[in-house]
Amino acid sequence: MNRLRSPKPSERLEFRDPERVQAFRRALERLCADHQEPISVMHVCGTHEQSIARFGLRSLLPPNLHVIMGPGCPVCVTDMPEVDEAVYLAEQGMIIATFGDMFRVPGTLKSLAEAKAEGADVRVIYSPWEALQIARETDREVVFFATGFETTAVATAAVILSGPPKNFSVLSAHKYIPPVMEIVAEMPQTRVQGFLAAGHAATITGWKIFERFVERHGIPVVVAGFEPLDILGALVQLVELIRRGEKRVVNAYPRCVTPEGNRNAQRLLWEVFETESGVWRGIAYVPNGNLRLRRKYAWVDARVRFEIRLSEWLRDAPPRLTQECICGNIMAGIATPYDCRLFGKECTPETPVGACMVSSEGACRIWYEYGGHITGPNM
């Protein structure tokens, strides 16, 4: 094989060298060529989907290799009551600090964006540390609407342990990934033959955590990074594991993921949070899928400090369209947006019902805007 030129310094960290990308594409094509029926693999990460969409990776994949987006973005899985709690507190006059991803996610009555338009004080932040700064510069109550997976929950834990001011509290809607992979793998209809595990959550938890999963379900797992070469390299290995019928975990992101993970971060995480069972929007009941503040940290827990009377507040809420939303099946890879009655009618990017239409990388949003996956100029 001719020696590929070594990447330019600026590409060094980026792992986006076009030549290597094409070499991986050819390798994937040949690996899948003599495989008659389609190979379905799933990733459970909005950032994987964002990278795949942004670099146009799907247009480089062989037609019979399907990469399905599972329940992976905090926007898609944060359940309706959690958004309602944030909107409820915003309407009591508290300052709500939220990530941009959650700003337009629909609650039963309205989203935080609509609450802000009607006068609530909702601030979009980029880091939990900024929520702390806001609290330091006012004496009004500041509630950080904490969403995201264990990767983000670690930062929330660090903020709580840094001794925040009394007017700072956390409304935790954090999620924990490993339990939901169990749920999706156990769904009878799931046709998934392999998983791409999210590299940055695994940076925290380590990759050994997936070994039990592989033993129990006999589905190979490859831990993947987020640059084009990371994703394509991981797919090459996952397809090889599937072809050889090997059931094991491969770490394709060694520069960030270790067997044991980030011990310091784990200590912070489990000092402040504990897992709790709960509903993920559209999926179902996920045992140990939610991260909630331990009793020891009740003093900073918005659910303890403030009485959130949701049922009363939602008494005259309109019938919930979301009952008909099938984002859960779409996320589990067992349905497409075209199977949903609301798709393109009541549910559009401007009037999103399910969270997969809100998230810029949600499966429904991509199908609405691009009519299914656009894979090339002549598609």
């Binding site: 060298d17 670099f55 146009g56 990776l57 991803d101 932040i125 810029s360 100029p377």
Partner: protein, 335 residues
Amino acid sequence: SYRTVLLGHGSGGRLMHELIEKVFRPLLLPPETRVLNDAAVLNVDGLRLAFTTDAFVVDPIVFPGGDIGRLAVNGTINDLAVSGAHPLFLSAAFILEEGLPMDTLCQIVDSMRQAAAEAGVPIVTGDTKVVNRGKADKVFITTTGIGIVEYEGTLSADQARPGDLVLLNGPIAAHGITVMLAREQIEFEQPVRSDTAPLHTLVAAMLRASSRIRCMRDATRGGLASALNEIAMNSRVGIHLDEDRIPIQDEVKGACEILGLDPLHVANEGKLVAIVAREDAERVLEAMRAHPLGREAAIIGEVVEDPRHLVLLRTRIGGFRVVSMLAGEQLPRIC
């Protein structure tokens, strides 16, 4: 579809288009107006008069590379220029918040004076109103501009044809990132500056170089993506872009990576995109590169036949993706 006006309705993206199509067009615009360009070109006794208006509500009002005053003058001049008009006169109406420090106002009005003088386009009329504290965010400026169109071709968003090429005059996303950094409590060391600049002399040079420029767009709110999607929709064509050819400053790219933003959606204030007949593209490109505001001009793509009117990007690594119109406003993302 929404009960109230949202921030996203002002983003230059899809929500804004819906607002225009559902509220303003049916109630205000004569039925025969098909295309909405950056300025209206009216026939007045045989003269083609370009007439535009714009409002400026940027927050913060002062940012590296400019302020709301300079932005208002340059922005209005650019709307006239990309419509093929030689800008003649501007007006400026101020809505001031009670309690705005007087020297802040003087600083802004003085930078308007400088921008107008540098561009040679005088401000000839205006108005001032003051509202209660809290009812406006320091100062809002509304402008209008008039100019004469002498270009014989018709510049309009519905004139692009398959085979034409797409030209851009320089690096994108600098303005939007500069304002976002200043506002979002995101402390960056500030090597990034707004690209606000008057483009009328650059446009004049381009118009002299070719009589087959189909249209030009000021890629402000909603970024390059919105400008090109508007052209694709109105001209019923597809557009293929090449990511390798779209210039972007390293620092701006870094900021977009961290904030999870797509530079094609970020606002510019000194950038125009032009659709030019293929045979004239090189000549127009040379004219642009000879101008200080077109040093890094590039041919970034081509117009193609596509019944779905999609804007497609060939990514740096050889993949393909759709460049969609921005929905609501742009927010930093973590996921």
